[in-house]
Every structure is written in C-alpha cells, then in structure tokens.
Symmetry: C2
Subunit: 711 residues, 2 copies
C-alpha cells in the first residue's frame, strides 16, 4: 500500500496533545503551527478544550473532518485501543513515539505484534514505534518538534533520533543543503525500510537518500528496492552494529538484529549503495552527491599547492578504488607553461607556490585539467580561499573570480569539482561562491576525498550493467514431491537434522552429483553395495543420535575387499554402540571414495536481516583457518555464483597455480545456483552444508551433505 | 652532536634579509621582532644598511657577536658558498628554505650532497633544505613568519608545510592547546627525523610529539629513538605515500622514498607510536594524549543518551582493539537506581532521555562508572552541553556544574574522560569548563572515539614489557672468514648472485641446516655423491647464466639408482646447453630429497626507509596467492622471531590443524634469527631467500637458498 497518505498527509491528529511545553504533544502542535503546515491539525485529549488556540477533541472519533495521519504520543500500553479508535475513524497512518516495545525483549515484542496486527486489521500504516517522529519538509508537516530544519533535497531515514539530530545540526551549521523528509524508522513494526525507499525514489523533490541503520527486518526486500533506487538516485548508508558490543547496543536500542556485518556490506555495495563507515562523512557525502554529477569514468585528478595534502589524498582515493590517471601529454605541457619550475604535473598537480601571488592560476589549471578526456572530476586541496587571508588581502578578489570560473566549468563540462580548503572555517567569500555554484567545500581533507570518491564510485556503478537478480528475487525455484516427501518424513520423526542418505537423496532428486547409495542395514548389503561400486569405498554410520561420526568410530575409508567391508561393518556398529549405547542406529552408508582433487565448501544459513544467504570457500585451511569465504543473499543468479568465486582471496587457485590445472568452475557455479534453488524451494531448510565437495579439471563430487531444518 | 644550539639558538642571522614585505627574509625578521625573540637578530644582505630598524651586515663574517643559527632564504645554488662563510664564522646550525635539491632528481641530489658535505666539514647542523622553516615557541624563535601560533606542549615535526599550516590552524580554531616546537624536516640532508625525536624526548616542556611523514632516510635509527621516546611521552604519526600515486606525489615533494607501507606501519606500532590514517584525527589525538592520562587497562565505558552514537562508538573502539567490559553488578545496580526504566546499563550505558530534565545525571553516572575497577576511562557521546540549548535554558547551569564535577573526577581517579558533543560548534560554557579541566571535547564522534582509543592503546603499550631490541639494534653479529671468502669469490667474478652451492656453503658455515653437497663436475662424481647420500636424491644444474633451472630442464627429482643418476647428469647438461649454448656450466648439485613436511619461506630485502627487513610466511599458495606474510626490521631478536610466526593469518597451521601435529617452531625461530645475523654481518647481501624450507614435527630442512649481493 502506498505511503502517500502517511508521508504526505493532508490532516494530522495529535493524540496525547498537551498544554505542557515540555511534552511532545505540545511541541508537535507548536511546530506545525509555526512552520505553517497547510493541512488540518486536530489536538486530541479528553481533558482539554483548546490547545494553542486549536479546538481539542476528546477522541479521534469526535474529529469532524477526515484524518490522514495520527501522531500518537501516549505510552505503549495505550496504543492498541487508540489504534482501534483510529481504525473506526478511517485514519490511514500513525506515528507511534512511545518506546517499550520490541527493544525491551519478549514482553515488549508481544505488545508490538499486537499493535502491528491491530493496525493491519484497519489498514493503518505505522511509523515506529520507538521513533523520534517524522517530517515532510515540503508540506511543513514537522511532527518531531525540531525547529529550523533546513529544507533541501536529501531524504533522511534513520534508526536513531540522535543521529538525525547530528545530521540536521551539521546541515544547519556547515551547509546550504537540507532535507526533503525525515523519518525515524524506529522498530519497523509495520512500515519497513524498503517501503520508505520506494517512496523517496518516486519523490521528484528528493535527489539523495541518506540512511543510518542498526538492523533491518526485511533486508531482501530492501536490497530489491535499493537496486531499483540507486539506478535513479544515490543512496548513502551507514550500518552500525558490526561489533559484539555494537550489536548489544543496537539491540537495546531498536530491538533490531544486526545480522552479519560482512554480508550486509557486500550486499549493500552490490546494490549500488554508497556505504560509509565514518559518521562524519555521512552528511557531506550526501551533500556532494546531491550537488554534483557523478564521475562517469572513475578517474579523478588532484590539484594541490604543496605536497602533503596531495599525497594523503592520493592514498585515500586509491584505497577507495578511484583511479588517478597520469594526465595527457598536451595537458602536462599546457600546465608547465603556466606553473613554476618546481611544480609537479603528472597528477597530482602541485602548483608549488604558483598561486601565492596570483590564485587565478587555480582556475586556469582546473580548466586545463578538466579538458583532459582522461579526467572525470577534480579534487582541489590546500589553501584556496585563504590566499587573500594568508598573503595579501587584494588576492581575495582574484580568488572570488576564480571561484566563479570554476562554477562555470562544472556547468559546462559536466565534470564535478570538490574543494578542500583549510581556510574553510574562516568563511572567505570565494568559498561561498563555490558553494553557490554547487561545488562542495570541506575543511577536512578526509571528507573532501570521501566526497569526490563517492561521485567516482557511484558513477562507476551507474556505468556497470545492472544486475538482474531483482527480477528473480521473488521467482523462486519450485519444490518437487520427492523432496517434500523426504523432508516431511524427517519432520514426522520429530528430527531437525536430515540423515546423510536423506540429504543425499534430496540433492540427487534435484539433479546434484552426490552419491546417495542405499542405506545398508546388514553386512551382506554393505558388501553387495561395495561390489556394485567396484573401486575403493568409504563407510559411514547413519544414526540420528550420532552427529560426530568420526568421534564415534563410525567412519572407515579406502576399503577395497569384500572381507574388509564386512569386517568394517561389524566394527563400525560395535564402536557406535560403545559410543552411545542407546543410539538409534539405522545402518551404514557405503559410497565410492572420491578421487583426490580440490576441496570446496558451500554452505547456507539464515541471516537476521537478509534471510537465506550462501557461502562459498575453498576447503581445508582456507576456510577453517583463514576464513577466506564470500557471501551472497539468495536467490543466486549464475552471474552472482561466478562473482562469488571471484571474491575469495584465494581465487587464483581455481584457475590453477603451481602447475595445477584450472578446476571446473562451471560445475561449481551450477551447484551454487542449484543449492540456492533448493534452499528457496524448501523454506524449512535453515542450514545446508556441502563440505567437502571435491572438484576436478572436469566435474566434481559432493562428498558430504548436512541439512538442518528450522522449527 | 646535540641540536641544542640549533633548536634553542641564542642568536640568529637572516641570510637573504629583505625589505620586501612578501619575502621570507622580511617576514622572518618581522615575526622575530613582533614575537619578542630574546636572542640577537642579525639581518645579512650586502645591499642594505638597515632592515626593520636592525643593522644589516654585508656577510656573516661581518656580524660582531657569535651566531648560533643562520636562516638562509637565498636560492639553492648560493647555499654552498654561504655555508663556507657560516663555517668560518663558527655558526652551529642553518635552516635552508630553498627547494631545488633532492626532490628534483639527480642534479638536485648532487647539490644536496655538496651542501651536506660542506656543512659536515664545518660542524654545521642543517634543517632542510626544502623546508618551511622552524619555530621554538618557548623562546619565541619563530623562523616561519607565521603569526599567532598557539603555544603549548606539542612538538610538531612534519615533511609538509601545508600539513603544518593545517594543524596549526586547527589548534588556533578548535583548541586551547598549542605547540612547543615546529620543525619542517624537509629533505633531511643532514639532521634526520630521529635526532629531532631525541631532542624532544629530553625537552621538559614537550608532552607529545606529533609527526607527518612522507618518507624517512634512516628508519632504523628512528625506530630505535622512537622506542626510547614512547616509554617517556606519546608519539603520534601519520605516514602517507602508501599508494603508488601517493609515493609519486611524495617523491616529487620531498625526494623521499616512501618504503613499504605495511613494513612501516607494523614497525612504528611496535615501537609504541600512535599511528593514524585520517589526517583529521592527528591534532585531536595529540591534544588528548597531551591533556589526559593514558588508560592503564585498555578498557573503556561509553555513556550515551540514545542508541545511535553508542552503537557507532562501540564498533569503532572494538575495531581499534579497545575493550568495552560489561560493568560490574554493583555498578549496574547503582546506575539502574538513578536512570529511567528504558535505560540500558551493561556498557554502553544509555541514559535514555534521563538527562532531558536534569543533565546532572551525566556527572552522577560518570562517577559511578569510573568507580568501577573494570573501567579505565570514559567516553561520553551525544548532546552534553546542549541540554540548555535544546530543552530549557535553565539546564545550562546544571550542565556547567556537572562539567566541573567531571573535571574533579578525572583529577581524583586518574581515569580520563573524553566528550563527544554535537553541540560543540555552538560553544556552550559547559564544554569550555570541561576543556579547562583537561577533558577534550569533539563535535566529531569519530574523532572522540579515536582520541580515547589512543589513550587506551598507548596505555596498553606502556603496560607491556619493553622490547629490548633497541639494545641490540647496533650490536650486529659478526662475519666469519669462511663467509667473507665465499662472498669475495663471487664479487671477484663480477657476479651478484651466489650460485646455489655457494649460498648453501655460506649458510652451513653459519650453522644452518642446509645440505650443501659438493658441486659435481662429472657423472662419476654425481654417482659417488648419490651413493654417499644413500636415499633418493635431487639433481640441479649450477650455472651463473641459468637462473630458472626448471625452465632449462636443469632439475631432476627422486632419483634412486646409480644408473638413473648417471643418465640424469648427461640429460641435465645436454638440456642446459640446448637452453643456452653459451652458458657457463659449473656442474650439478646432488642433494638428498627432503621428506614431505610443511613448507616455510623466509626472505630478506632492503627497504627504502628501514634498510634490511625480513619476511616470514608459509610456503605455497599462502605466500604466492594470499600474500600471508609478516615483516620485521632487522636485527631480529628471538622474541621478535616468535612474534613474526604469530602474526601471519594462517598461524594456527603451525600449531597443527586438521589432525596434523604442530611443527618445530623453535627450529624456525632459530633460522629466522640466524638469517638476521647473516644479513647484518655481510652488508653486501641485499636479498636472501630460503624458499622453500621444509619443517617437521622435529627439525627442518632448507631446500633452496638464493642470495643476491648489492653493487
């Protein structure tokens, strides 16, 4: 259901309206009035007749006109009844300020579910609970009670009122930019992150979406919406809660589960989101992305006066994956002509004091550099704006005219300029002129680099071909009757782990190359199975009570004769019974020994935020000791599977190193996609491990499968 | 030679003194006068009689009194003659501003060497060339011409005038702290980084040393001085030039070679230096380290109002290796008593709006938290200082009194508090009161975290036992006649690569377990050698013209019979001749095949900054594909060798994984130390590779050695 009536409401009821200045129910009304919200404002409070010259109503039902949105400022336990009233009145949305829900544990979670259910019953969409509120700055619908919030084209979506306050304060004090919306997402009891994203994508007055996230309830839908959104406008995001203490802090704050940090970062980045880690950079990067065009070719030039800043900026942009191309021969010659002998020109360009007497040289250099087709954008670092302060007052006018020139260049070339100036805090007019032309200016070198870097990385994303998994995200491969039967049989026995032959049969039923030989209940059956196989065999105990087969003496390898198979059968059973006298022993599996090859591991599990995810790595020490793995949120496309193989650090091994031939990557890719399909097809599966698989120059062999069902 | 007369000069000659206001030779005199430098000031310029009311001299020799220091502002080519004059006059030090030396390539490097030599001849110590100058802010000896530089206890040492300007501007605008010294190190033609460090260590008015480095000429001496210094006072350092473009930029700027970034970072950190990567954090971290006591137990508590800041801070401190202990039961109970129901108390402590009506709660909580013995320091994040702004003016007084309380707590408990406040830029008096008490306050959450994190990490370093390699850094193991003979023989032939048997003999002479069998020149000799060995053997061609033996068909493995050895000898020679008809073939080495075991690689090379360094890694893909290696600057102690083994990511493998036994780490340690000794003993060695070594449960075997000599 569209959020239009919620985020763009024509009338608001304030439930819990108050005459006490310190209360939210007073402040919201005051702000709506002072900001001149054009819609109807209805205070609701049975004990008051009038609040701030507005008629006050005893209940929502007493309000004469229609009500789009209710701002509810009363305590948690009162909410369900209020929502019933709202439902009867036909209210379309509600903002619930109160905490005391999911963030306080089980009890609160129950109340939150009740609130969500009541809202759903009446078709009311909820913002929060446990939110600082919401503002639509285009219609002046400010329900937060925060004043002087700067207006602009950045939509702000956060899970922390204080991060909102931080970002709004930054906009007020350091920027000419501001916000189109602010939504405190709170506990996401009803409206989830992705729904806001879709709304802002379609909002013509929003150019950038800026997000602070601790944990999201429906990460898969979010990725889906994010992929669509980043093709149209930038999304900037900081996700906290990557450390154990950070997760604990987030949990006590919004009740959100933070999920696995490495999975989230990768998934967000692949969806085209600008993921940041330093909260200082959040607003500036959003500001730059909303002010300047993205850099099409990921290539930036640096223009400096003196070496230190240029060296630091070079390091930082390189870390971000931005290219710093050597400037063309023509460009370098033109620069040499106007710069002092000591100047350096390849990129970074160092004017080496060439601006001390005449800072117009920065505009001249900028023009020459931006004309170079190898350059997509320009970062100027150092003292610009301060030559008039540091050297001679008369230079200020020259700087101002240079600033105007630079503004024109950006408009003409479509290539952005970002400025670092250590005189930013002195506020010279030249820097204001740059800002007016859309050129962003920062006193922090780090922030200036992150900002132009974001333009370059976002531009590179836009130039890449779209990943089409959004199209298949809801497609899902189907379950088959044979698979359903296997899983139901396991559930009927009250087990949640499939036995090895059951897991094998499920994979075989879906066409995967695993040997799911028959379960042998007698030594004779084992010998027959071994003879049918022909080569050396492995034998493994099958029992729902024995998870660690080797520990129980339940595994024997490399058996080559009928007699050794027969003896092994007896020994395995004896040793298993000794290990656990009461174990329910189903028999022994006899399977062919795998030829030596390269070990591979594939696993799936359920992430708190994204649901099923898949992991890929090379077997042995590479996974066990070095944790060299890659992740994807399911479902996995063939392209995604191929990319996963390319994301592990040891990827070169797959292509053959030290004289080994390359392995069959196509075969691995098929298994990855198939595993994704199986996990999607049977939502009961919460964990699946193919460990190890042995992969060869041609083909592969799944040696062991483990499948765990959820409750 | 002490730098006392240079950095603390009693008289200064300005050579190149000028009446032109835009010239350094004018500005320096003006600043010395306006800052009231107490020493003598002697302008030198043959064309002037008086400058700024001071008598001007035609040459240094005309100055009547003694001259400690000369500030030379004339161009590069004039410097050698001026230094001759200074030498005759008995000048003790000179600051050379001019560029045009090592940073411009070979030609400039030659002039720089001439300048350095002239200075050495006369016992003149040089700052620069290519420096922005120097200031002693205690004696008001300001040779930079920069005005209003705040005085304080931070000594600033940089290789970029603009980074100095950046840091000084920050101190002016955001801090009550300032500088004891500033030195622009420039090209380090004479005085090197480490000599300044030693001077500042002994300066009672300097509490922290703050450095920006692009590359240093004598990194080993620097590490040595740094180890001594960080035991006494903190050293904060940012080293740029880690990217290729960054290195190019640094090179064109100071002519310094940037060295290997990972080697530098590790070496600096182990020397107790606070290494930073974001230039925004440089001044604040130095400010905090100079204002507050280090945290003894590496454990920090976070006090917040609302969750977002606390979650981000938790992540960041965890990344830095700082512990965030759960507060004691008593502490939590005391906090619960004074905080609202929704507050979270384990750590982070979230007052959850508990300060909105009464911000004195922050002082109360701070007291309770600092009294917890598990807590070494406190980070307060959020709105403190702004309750009077945001909620009610009357709260400002309460905040001010809380600020005074916190100041007292720090003094009483010896545990630091660092404050993040998003109202910092509004400048509320409560925050000024904190600063007066030494509590540092930042508007940036990232900077506040980095600052308290630095106190924790520096405290942890001080609590660790000192590494004693400073004692042995100049010790050096001795060369032996046998080794000298081998190396001289190689040099006599004009070669720079030792042949395999030569390298083997050198190692054997130093007691290392490598099989350096005799060089066999005939098939008969090879058969005899093989028979003496007894087991299966390997045979390898020996020729100074064949570096890639396998490519030339020059390697045969696993030969077990006399006949196969004889045949292999012939085949190897034939195939080598076919590979390179003119190759100088010395014969074939016959050595025992190594038993299978774990492959290890040890290598040494010469780093631009630190001289000889050693690398350790596990053989095969771990080094080749994953680059999982650790580095140390030589010489290596047994403790350092042990630590190196613990620094690779795959370290668990050495202790035995997947059922394998642990390997003989003591044996590896011995080889590492021995290799270090050999490289120290023969300065001719510029590269040495033991690749592979095979290590066993007990003992090891060096299979292949490569040694390259420098020119």
């Amino acid at each position: 259901m569209s959020l239009e009536k919620v985020l763009n409401a024509g009338s608001v009821a304030i439930i819990g309206a108050s005459t006490n200045e310190t209360k939210r129910g007073f402040q919201a009304i005051r702000t709506l009035l002072s900001e001149k919200y054009a819609g109807m404002i209805y205070p609701v409070n049975p004990r008051e007749k009038q609040i701030q010259d507005l008629d006050c109503y005893a209940g929502v039902s007493d309000i004469p006109g229609p009500v789009d949105l209710a701002l509810i400022t009363t305590p948690a336990r009162t909410i369900p009844a209020i929502l019933e009233d709202c439902g009867a009145k036909g209210v379309r949305g509600a903002v619930i300020i109160a905490g005391g829900f999911g963030e306080l544990g089980e009890e609160g979670k129950k109340l939150q579910d009740e609130v969500a259910q009541t809202a759903r019953k009446h078709g009311i969409r909820l913002i929060g609970p446990n939110t600082s509120g919401m503002m639509n700055l285009k219609t002046n619908m400010n329900l937060v009670g925060m004043q002087d919030v700067p207006r602009g084209d950045i939509a702000l979506l956060t899970q922390s009122g204080n991060m909102a306050l931080t970002l709004i304060t930054e906009a007020q004090t350091c920027s000419q930019k501001g916000f189109s919306y602010y939504v405190g997402v709170g506990n996401e009891a009803d409206i989830h992150f992705h729904e806001y994203l879709a709304h802002f994508r379609n909002d013509p007055d929003t150019r950038v979406i800026l997000m602070y996230v601790e944990g999201m309830r429906d990460g898969r839908s979010f990725l889906d919406e994010a992929r669509r959104t980043t093709r149209v406008k930038p999304v900037v995001l900081l996700k906290s809660g990557r450390s154990a203490t950070g997760r604990r802090s987030a949990g006590s704050h919004t009740g959100a589960l933070a999920g696995m940090a490495e999975v989230a970062k990768g998934a967000f980045t692949r969806a085209g989101i600008t993921v940041l880690e330093n909260s200082d950079t959040l607003f500036p990067v959003a500001e730059t992305l909303s002010s300047l065009p993205p850099i099409a070719n990921n290539a930036v030039a640096i223009l400096a006066d003196g070496g230190g800043h240029a060296t630091i900026a070079s390091d930082l942009l390189t870390d971000m994956g931005v290219e710093l191309p050597v400037l063309g021969k023509d460009t370098r010659e033109k620069l040499r002509k106007i710069l002092p002998f000591a100047a350096s020109v390849p990129n970074p360009v160092d004017v080496a004091g060439g601006g001390d007497a005449d800072p117009s040289i920065f505009a001249e250099c900028a023009r020459i550099i931006l004309d170079d087709p190898a350059v997509g954008g320009l970062l100027i670092v150092g003292l610009f704006g301060g030559y008039g302060i540091r050297f001679a007052e008369s230079l200020a006018v020259i700087e101002e005219s240079a600033a105007r020139e630079m503004g024109k260049m950006v408009a003409e070339t479509g290539k952005p300029i970002v400025m670092h100036s250590l005189f930013n805090s002195a506020g010279p007019p030249a820097l204001d002129l740059l800002r007016e032309a859309g050129i962003t200016v920062y006193g922090s070198l780090d922030i200036a680099c992150r900002s132009i870097g974001a333009l370059a990385r976002y531009g590179a994303y836009l130039s890449s071909s779209p990943i089409e998994d959004d199209l298949i995200l809801h497609q899902g491969a189907g379950a088959i009757p044979e698979g359903r039967r296997i899983i139901q049989a396991v559930q009927k026995e009250g087990r949640n782990a499939l036995l090895e032959h059951e897991a094998g049969e499920l994979l075989v039923a879906h066409g995967l190359p695993v040997f799911a030989g028959p379960l042998c209940e007698t030594a004779d059956a084992a010998v027959t199975a071994a003879e049918r196989i022909g080569g050396p065999v492995a034998m493994k105990i099958v029992s729902p009570d024995i998870l660690h087969k080797s520990d129980a003496g339940g595994v024997r390898l490399n058996l080559t004769t009928a007699e050794s198979v027969r003896r092994a059968f007896g020994e395995i059973l004896a040793s298993a019974k000794k290990y656990d006298r009461r174990a329910d022993i189903r028999g022994v599996i006899v399977s062919p020994m795998a030829e030596p090859g390269m070990e591979i591991i594939i696993g799936t599990k359920i992430d708190d935020q994204f649901g099923p995810i898949i992991m890929f790595g090379l077997g042995g020490i590479l996974v066990e000791v070095l944790k060299d793995v890659s992740f994807r949120v399911l479902p996995l496309t063939p392209e995604g599977a191929e990319a996963m193989m390319g994301e592990i650090k040891a990827r070169a091994i797959l292509d053959g190193v030290r004289g080994n031939p390359p392995v069959d990557k196509k075969a691995i890719q098929r298994v990855l996609v198939k595993v994704s399909e199986i996990v999607e097809a049977y939502p009961e599966i919460c964990e699946m491990d193919l460990n190890p698989m042995i992969v060869y120059k041609k083909g592969l062999r799944i040696v062991d499968v483990r499948i765990i069902l959820g409750k």
